[in-house]
Symmetry: C2
Subunit: 470 residues, 2 copies
């Protein structure tokens, strides 16, 4: 395919993309295929000779679309949102063309420099403390990571390295392995599975702190665990707080937990994967209070800030960047480019630049607020129906609800919803109860979609409760 053909096919593809997104509501949001459906639809080997482009495009509708869960449909209320916007897609095209790999400054200076400045822009939108910005002093600063999971792992490894050094400095008779075997990390019993996994990878113990009735970690409970562990000879070194937990969007009490971590020489990392985007609104910024006690903070703009996932724009800010640098290749810091290779993906900050400029801070705030209003609207609908209950505080764009009654009843309701394919939800467990999660996700969602979804849910509920076995 030469440039001329690309010009033609590329323009067709732009229309295909716009058509797909404009008409996405006409497709069932959830696919009707069995595992293994795709293998039989395509050859078992790559072709020897080039095929026709037209045939490939036909296969998109024949092979791919039947197996797609349409994440950007306004009938999609599952998981948490994944971002999508036209300016981000345009930036992505440019990024693909430039196709530079930014693992060092010299490998493409613009790629490194725009990333640093964009993370400062974003840090300012979030009103992060000065020490998290690269600015002119260049101590803290942000970096785009692949996913929140990687950010958590990075922070845990940096904390591990710092702890080993600190403890060895005062206990020179302790071997590194002995220290490692006594280190203990903590996180909420509501934390994302990636946090536990980070500890597994890093080879350190991790304990789950029980949460209160709002599914938040509080100081008293946490302090008790830390004291007991210290009495048992363990070495507490790391706490991963969650702001906006995956099951119910609960918020750990970082304002009281932070000072405790600081006193105990524990690294506090904040995982705000979903909720972080909302902190650009002054009215939600108090939820981030306590960040001044944190050593590192991350959230996923690719979830709720209109920056497509395909740039995997997870951001991490570190209060003292040097620690992360140092732990990775002690002694090789001058060979900075080697340190960066696995982080050096493509020119992801372009997408931020396009989105921030095409929306402006006001546009981004309006977008967040609209989603929160729609979640509140859904909450009111649920509260007005006495058969249902709300299962967790509705703070941002997520509503956890259930039918008053058994888990089985709620499982049956969800099964019907999933089978109808008109809307898509996923469940969670809260205090042993099976709960439905209704997350506002799509960029183009409106009040009428929320109303229609609720009507659909109540219709299925009506049918379910009619059945003799209930």
């Amino acid at each position: 395919m030469d440039a001329e053909e690309f010009r033609r096919r590329g323009k067709e593809m732009v229309d295909l993309v716009a058509d797909y997104l404009e008409n996405i509501e006409d497709r069932p949001v959830y696919p009707d295929v069995e595992p293994g459906y795709l293998r039989s639809l395509i050859p078992t080997e790559a072709p020897q000779d080039p095929e026709n482009y037209e045939d490939i495009i036909k296969d998109v509708e024949r092979v791919i679309m039947p197996g797609i869960t349409h994440w950007h449909s306004p009938n999609f209320f599952a998981y948490f949102p994944t971002a999508s916007s036209y300016p981000a897609m345009l930036a992505d095209m440019l990024c693909g063309a430039i196709g530079c790999i930014g693992f060092s400054w010299a490998a493409s200076p613009a790629c490194t420099e725009l990333e640093t400045v964009m993370l400062d822009w974003l840090g300012k939108m979030l009103q992060l403390p000065e020490c998290f910005l690269a600015g002119t002093h260049g101590q803290g600063g942000g970096v785009i990571q692949g996913t929140a999971s990687e950010a958590t792992l990075m922070s845990l490894l940096a904390a591990r390295c710092k702890a080993v050094r600190r403890i060895q400095a005062t206990n020179s008779d302790m071997s590194e392995m002995e220290i490692l075997s006594k280190l203990v990390a903590y996180t909420s019993d509501q934390a994302h599975s990636s946090v536990e996994r980070a500890a597994l990878i890093g080879g350190v113990k991790m304990k789950k702190v029980p949460t209160d009735e709002h599914y938040a970690v509080r100081k008293d409970m946490f302090m008790k665990m830390v004291e007991e562990d210290k009495a048992d000879g363990l070495l507490p070194f790391y706490f991963c707080a969650t702001l906006g937990t995956t099951p119910s969007c609960a918020f750990d009490k970082t304002e009281e937990l932070g000072p405790l971590c600081n006193e105990e020489n524990m690294w506090m990392h904040i995982d705000a994967a979903y909720a972080g985007s909302a902190f650009i609104c002054p009215e939600f910024r108090p939820l981030l209070n306590g960040v001044e006690f944190a050593d590192s903070f991350n959230f996923n703009p690719h979830k709720w800030l209109l920056i497509n996932f395909d740039c995997s724009a997870m951001c991490i800010w570190v209060c003292n960047y040097g620690v992360i640098l140092f732990f990775l290749l002690p002694g090789l810091v001058t060979d900075y480019r080697h340190w960066q290779i696995p982080l050096g993906r493509r020119f992801r900050s372009l997408k931020m630049w396009f989105v921030f400029r095409m929306y402006g801070l006001n546009g981004l705030q309006a977008y967040i607020r609209k989603h929160v209003v729609l979640a509140k609207e859904f909450e009111s609908l649920v509260r007005a129906d006495k058969r249902f209950e709300i299962c967790a505080d509705v703070v941002l764009g997520l509503v956890c609800f259930r039918l008053k009654g058994s888990n089985e009843l709620n499982q049956n309701l969800l099964k019907r919803i999933t089978q109808c394919r008109e809307i898509h939800l996923v469940p969670c467990q809260l205090s042993g109860r099976f709960v439905l999660r209704f997350a506002i996700c799509a960029r183009k969602i409106e009040s009428h979609h929320v109303q229609k979804a609720w009507q659909h849910i109540t219709q299925l509920t009506f049918e379910l409760l009619q059945e003799p076995e209930h």
Copy 2:
């Protein structure tokens, strides 16, 4: 930006992309900016209100382009190639629009299923042993990872888990920490820094095996180290072989190393990040012999197989997939989606599908062969000039060469090359000598680019050798 505007802007962007790539030779391949150049060119904060799209596009030329190292210029001979092709870019646009997150089958069945089948296609192109394919038995199989570094880390962690279990089964008195403190991993002294880093992250010792005069690890040397370490009470458990090392594209002798690893119960991982793509050609496939002894194998199609990096299509095949699954979340295997979240990036296999079909196996093989021929052409030019020497076997698309003389002389030559910005190379160290690497990189490179590059190098050499201090 609504769909109508996206249709217009998207088509403009397609032309911008084609124009950039068509005229890339007119730009100096290496930028002429100082660190920090970008910060002063743009505001210190995001705008409050939306800006004009035109202004953003103007800024691409004003702010970004001056700081770009043009990786796809036919005058770029640095590092290893990073792939770029029009079919991949088209697939990427589609991928951005679908914007699904494939962390579980249900999250978008097509995304998971196409990935499995594409890795089988690719595995067949490489003639991987049956056990590496998912096929119908579903034991082995491939997965797209972000980078080779992550693949190496994954394999090391899986090996660590397997070793701990195996050793505990026969030495029930050894604690996990004691085992960990005795585990030892090995890799070549030519291995990529990401291998050492994987051990650092995984908290195990790693030793560098000295290489022979071809920069390859051989059995005798390796066996000696393993025996000595065992005698010292250590537990050898992992070897990362490199096929196509970063400095000189050398090949470890996996055919003799593999059986040794198998006998010693050591996991053998093969990192063929760059060279792997060449193994689709029958004449280069023998370089992969020994893979039948490996537990895992990976390479980066985004380096040399025309699949743009922006899909970060690193592939890993594991002979027994179950091990990887199991180590990550023992006991939670049913909650498969949690295991996959950090791996579940976007719909990256679409790009493979488009590229394999638009090129066909023949087209891909022709592409690899052309690059190898051009490298040989450059090698001949160097060999014909008695002032120069070739520093490592030229097997694929990389030529390592230097001026006969001091390291300083060669450093000066490279400095001049870099300052002229007509071509771009990076150096390496081989046996303590400063060596220039000439890698065939661009998709559109032709013989005349290689000839011109050589003329340029010899012209600068002439000038350098004229100077009084030499």
